[in-house]
Amino acid sequence: MNNKSKKAVRTVSGYFILTVLAVLFMFPLYWFFLNSLKNYEQFFLYPPKFWVWPLRFANYLEAYRYPSLQFGQMLKNSVIITALSVIGTVLSSTIVAYGFSRIKWRGRDQVFVLVILTMIIPTEVVLTPLYSIYSKLHLLDTWIPIIAPFFFARPFYTFMIRQSMMGIPMEMDESAEIDGCNVWQRLLYVILPQVKPALLAAMIMAMQDQWNNYLEPLIFINSNSKQTISVGLTFFSGMYNIQWNLVFAAAVIVAMPILVIFIFLQKYFIQGIVVSGVKG
């Protein structure tokens, strides 16, 4: 076979596998969106229908206007908190990752294992001690307990960026040093451009983690007006029953902002960033 038809086969098979998997992935998603358009009784139909009519778009309005839920306010809160957390991640995780990967200092790799170990600790464990600490500092019912960790290089994102940085040959640093770049300049002009995909991934990850973060806002924030929307979603699960249709409608609304941002950031994931060698 000549090159052209080889390429064609590869393209078709690529599409094929992707499509099959995509359909499987999409099915629960389809169900998710369909649920948000049902009325309450339709959740208990047997046999289940793959389609319902009429579509109840009023669910979205009803969910948004749910009396005990300050939907708009909580949505705003989530946006601000998430944005700040992403900024914090970019600032702190890159610097710390740099310190753990591009500078040779004694004990560096052993200390890094400690970074990993701190990732193990589940939030539930440190929750009550942290609560007492924040309580004494009068920081409860503010956003600081929730945002602060992101400004102090959360291990996960730091780990990710560090791994990516470890993949860059040290010669680049060295030649930049010879050229007269100091540590910070090396970080900014040499290393950072090369870890763009990892940095981007870390930003997306931080955005998603904070958007969906549930336990910390629940415990540290008492006022509904300062609460995040991820906690707000639980308001549809009453003591005795769940308002199925409203929960899903609300979840769809909540998923939208991040989805839009993700699609927008997609174009920065360019295929094959060419790193051909030592920069001149």
Binding site: F50, L117, I120, T128, S164, M165, P197, N212, Y214
Partner: protein, 297 residues
């Protein structure tokens, strides 16, 4: 007496300076609470009483008087053994598929990423509904195919399978990480291999895999920690039931802390978890020297 050269000293200073955010954060948000938690684990701090120091009694109770500890550890281990390899393989394969230079690849990437955007509260409700024995769509499809109903959420094996399935469905995060790792590999390497007449498969084996080992290693660590910390999906799917069939360790911990209000005991449980996962992690790190290849060194 100076064992360290001037340069080393300077490197050390710079290094510490750069990682200072983590040092402060790590100590403040993690180390101190962890020590406090350890301290609490040596008391019988609960809703019912002021804390009283009881030494290691909680730990002894854990190992001798609480059968649910072993049960929950067992369920968690099984989940970990099943989930981690599947997540690694699935994440890697899918990232490779999504790394192709096909038109419209953006659409596919979005489709595979969206599920992880759905807050765990609603995704668990979604799957609970789909896996429902009587009303669920899964069993309905099975009945089309002439197969009987499966009680998805009533036995340990099927509940774990469901939880693994959900985690794979929501593995968009790891896929993105792998994708960014793949994109860090210079295309020039692939081009050179093409010129040499290397088949695609061999390219994956000789180029992609080795260069991806740092990222894969991270997947492994994250997967390990995540599997042992798994909580929300099990809580919202079955709340550990029926009759503790799907009680994962963190759920047992949560119940002890916030349902039975025995915080001292719960803290002891968390210290145990920390020790177990810590040992596994350190072991993985040690072994990583043998198979992880960092391009920079």
């Amino acid at each position: 007496m100076s064992k360290w050269s001037r340069k080393e000293k300077k490197q050390l200073k710079t290094g510490i300076l750069m990682i200072s955010p983590w040092l402060v954060g790590g100590i403040g948000f993690t180390l101190i609470p962890l020590l406090l938690a350890f301290g609490m684990s040596m008391t019988n701090y609960s809703f019912f009483s002021k804390p009283k120091f009881i030494g290691f009694e909680n730990y002894i109770t854990m190992f001798t008087k609480d059968p649910l500890i072993w049960k929950s550890l067992g369920v968690t281990f099984i989940y970990a053994i099943v989930a981690i390899p599947l997540q690694l393989i699935f994440g890697f394969l899918l990232a490779n598929l999504l790394n192709q230079n096909l038109k419209g690849i953006v659409v596919f990437r979005t489709i595979f990423y969206i599920p992880c955007l759905i807050v765990v509260v609603s995704s668990s409700l979604l799957w609970r509904q789909m896996l429902d024995t009587d009303f669920g769509i899964f069993n309905y499809i099975l009945s089309w195919l002439g197969m009987g109903k499966i009680s998805w959420l009533s036995q340990t094996a099927t509940i774990i399978a469901s939880a693994v399935l959900i985690s794979l469905w929501q593995s968009g995060k790891m896929i993105i990480i792998n994708l960014s790792g793949l994109q860090g590999i210079p295309t020039s390497l692939y081009e050179a291999a093409d010129l040499d007449g290397c088949s695609k498969l061999r390219q994956v084996y000789y180029i992609t895999l080795p260069l991806m080992t740092p990222v894969l290693f991270m997947n492994l660590i994250i997967g390990l920690i995540g599997a042992f910390k798994t909580f929300s999906s099990f809580k919202l799917l079955t709340n550990g039931g029926p009759n503790n069939a799907s009680l994962v360790y963190m759920l047992h911990l949560y119940n002890n802390a916030f349902v039975n209000y025995q915080l001292g005991y719960a803290n002891a449980m968390s210290i145990l978890l920390f020790v177990i996962v810590g040992i596994l992690t350190i072991w993985l790190f040690r072994s990583s020297a043998k198979w992880v290849f960092y391009g920079g060194e």
